[in-house]
Amino acid sequence: MLKSNILGMNLKNPLFLAAGILGTTASSMKMVARAGAGGIVTKSFSLEANDGYENPTIVKIEGGVINSVGLASPGVEAKKEELIELEDIRDETPVIASIYGDSEDVFCEVAQRTKDYVDAFELNVSCPHAKCGFGSNIGEDPEMTYNIVSSVKDSIKDVPIIVKLTPNVTDITEIAKASQEAGADALTLINSVGPGLRIDYQTGKPILNNVLGGIAGPMIKPIALKCVYNTYKTVDIPIFGVGGIKDYKDVLEFMYAGASLLQIGTSIMYDGPEIFKNITDDLSIFLEENGYNNVTEIIGLSHEL
């Protein structure tokens, strides 16, 4: 019922672990795989080790989290060791490496060094709390996005390239089109929203050390859905829907809007990694009760009504 084959990956279900969540160590990613995820996206990494920002970096707020972890990661060589540890789960649970950088060369170098250990790359050109030159500084600009994507495509021939986009632009479909024209094999919509701000009401101090942080979790679902819905009409490549998914009803909404695959991140803090099994169980029951034979039948349904 939930099986599909997309980007050359044989998937037991369409629910991936989202980048940035439980994706630092091979052990934690394996733990999420055992809990029932259909695939894994690693936490973003680049050439060099990066401590990220000082705490507080992630705080739970109404409807989700505000976060400015700041792309903390151990650097490509250490990450490669973690990826090698994942080799034995990839047949059943494909692994996508999320990578970031501040230039075409860095993206290509990181991808070259790790391409033998992953099933696809997700280019993070959309982190809203990255330092200048990284993350959404790239993904807000169609031309810069085009250049990064096409250079990685030229450099890496045999591994699919997914581009993760920021919603914090006037028209996300422009960036989506630029990515497709540059050769992207799929898109991930969306990275966190904002950035936003929370302040302690007693002292007036901004809560995050970095002051501003990306907003994620159930509260951003309507924005993510809009991005998927509009982008589905503009591009022909598969879309990973991500943003606030916490139950099977959310999965249905994203797939109706046009997502072929989904990613789950923040909601793990409510239900634990068991959320993957809870959702896939409920989703199978719903699809069966409603007369579907396979989950892929509902992709883009809202556009046909």
């Binding site: 969540i21 401590d51 000082e54 739970k60 903390a72 634990g272």
Partner: protein, 270 residues
């Protein structure tokens, strides 16, 4: 069905009510906090000094007066600033409590071993259970934590120092070994330097008794999502499944006693 989506868990800012200089490097901070039924020894809070934030074990759980305490050892800029500059009337933010604490119901006699400020994690056990024997260990007499507190509350504690300046001369694990030989303990619990904790696990294997140990890893969210504190090979989240792990879990932790990961996620060997 998820129920807590709309809870707001920003730091709760409290005003420090009392401080106790425990040793030249250790200081306790006590502040008002509603002590609900679910708060348990071994859990931790994220402590925000209105700038940075670190996980700290809860060292005082005072249900009667709705007070909570943390006990801080100078180990870096954050804790040095707290020790040197923060006092009564200053504000700190608290998130949590988070994680799983010690679960000692059903055990007949408990041996609790605290190394240095690790005793902070164990002291609240005394107001929850009446069958706990404590070992408090430090390098030297001046660094023993809670000596006055235990005296005031008339609590018997087995103290030990590496240099023999107070109590038993030697390591806490040597004293624990002595006590386990003769005492009818059915569990050993502990908190302290990881090398000590690892030896406590070995002692529990030697005497074939249960074991629960509090572990410490670099933390960011405390919510079970950032992945920073996940521990090899099981991927247990120290902030959710821990910080206190039982004997079966500890046996699965291949990195226990060997290495940890830093803020970037890079491996740092002990």
């Amino acid at each position: 069905m998820i129920k807590n989506v709309y809870d707001d868990e920003v730091p709760k800012v409290v005003t420090i009510k009392e401080t106790v200089i425990e040793t030249p490097t250790v200081k306790t901070f006590i502040f008002p906090f509603e002590i609900t039924e679910d708060i348990h020894p071994g859990q931790f809070v994220m402590v925000w000094d209105l700038n940075n934030e670190k996980p700290m074990t809860i060292s005082v759980i005072d249900k009667k007066n709705n007070l909570m305490g943390i006990t801080v050892r100078k180990a870096g800029p954050f804790t040095e600033n707290m020790y040197e500059n923060m006092g009564v009337g200053d504000k700190i933010g608290i998130r949590g409590p988070y994680g799983h604490g010690y679960e000692l119901s059903g055990y007949k006699k408990v041996l609790a071993v605290g190394g240095g400020s690790g005793i902070a994690s164990l002291a609240p056990l005394l107001s929850f259970y009446d069958n706990v024997d404590l070992i408090s260990a430090a390098s030297t007499k001046d660094e023993l934590v809670f000596v006055e507190k235990f005296k005031k509350e008339n609590i018997q504690v087995h103290e030990c120092t590496d240099d023999g300046s107070y109590g038993f001369k030697g390591f806490s694990t040597e004293l624990a070994d002595e006590l386990l030989k003769t005492g009818d303990y059915d569990i050993i619990v502990g908190c302290g330097p990881e090398i000590m904790s690892y030896k406590l696990l070995e002692l529990s294997q030697k005497y074939d008794i249960d074991c629960q140990l509090a572990l410490d890893r670099y933390m960011k969210c405390g919510l079970g999502i950032c992945g920073q504190c996940c521990i090899d090979d099981t991927g247990y989240r120290v902030c959710v499944e821990g910080p206190v792990f039982d004997k079966e879990q500890l046996g699965q932790l291949s990195e226990f006693g060997k290495y940890r990961r830093d803020a970037a996620g890079s491996i740092v060997e002990y």
